[in-house]
């Protein structure tokens, strides 16, 4: 598990309008229990080498249900089911680029 803030570049459109393709985001370590509404970085349940960005829709027993903000253009828990907390590797905290849209990633 990474310590401290790290950075990701957003690819894809499922988190629009919150996050757009090419946005750069600071990621903090995950909370022990993610909060509903926050945007998390998780391992793709179908390909552990790949990271996904989705919003927490519900927190259950050791797992989260995640959804893209753009429901009609997102592959998320509706498709791959709940994701174990151990696969949640961070939470998106702050968009630092592009500068014009810099700001906190809101829950």
């Amino acid at each position: 598990m990474r310590r401290g803030p790290w950075r990701v570049a957003v690819a894809g459109h499922s988190m629009e309008p919150t996050l757009r393709e090419g946005d750069r985001v600071f990621v903090l370590p995950p909370r022990r229990e993610p909060r509903v509404g926050e945007v998390v970085v998780l391992r793709d349940p179908r390909d552990a080498k790949r990271l996904l960005l989705k919003r927490v829709a519900a927190v259950g027993d050791g797992a989260v249900t995640v959804m893209g903000d753009r429901r009609d253009h997102s592959t998320d828990s509706r498709y791959f089911g709940d994701v174990p907390l151990t696969d949640v590797v961070g939470r998106a905290a702050f968009r630092y680029a592009p500068l014009g849209r810099a700001g906190r990633v809101r829950s």
Binding site: W6, R7, V8, A9, V10, A11, G12, H13, S14, M15, E16, L19, E21, R24, V25, V27, V41, D44, R50, L51, L52, L53, K54, G68, R70, H73, S74, T75, Y79
Partner: protein, 137 residues
Amino acid sequence: MFGRLFKPPIVAYAHCDIPCGIYDPTPAKIAADTVAKMVEKINQLSPTATDVTTRANFVRMTVVKEEHAQICKKELEILWSDYFKPEHLEKYPKLHDTFWKAAKLCSKNKQNVDATAAAELQAAVKEISDMFWATKK
């Protein structure tokens, strides 16, 4: 300690498998079959008939043939540019050539009423379809 700061950020996917994950050669096959069927039906029309019904059918069949030749090309291009990956090219070195020729056959079938060209298009689509399904095994 600060080395990580200067590396490019890791990519995280806010992605969607749809429409980017569903590929199927069937629409191209249906389009190619439609082209062949329209050529067959056009050729069955009486070449000397001048009644309105025959003329209307001729126009309709021609329009459908041309539309489906175009649909076939579009469907093939989606498979070509979006589905097939460099690793497929290693296994099928003729991949680009096959698609290129198939796309040209779509144009040829749009322009002409040619049963041979229609059969060639069907064969080309089948070849692509076989490659596609082989990659799924």
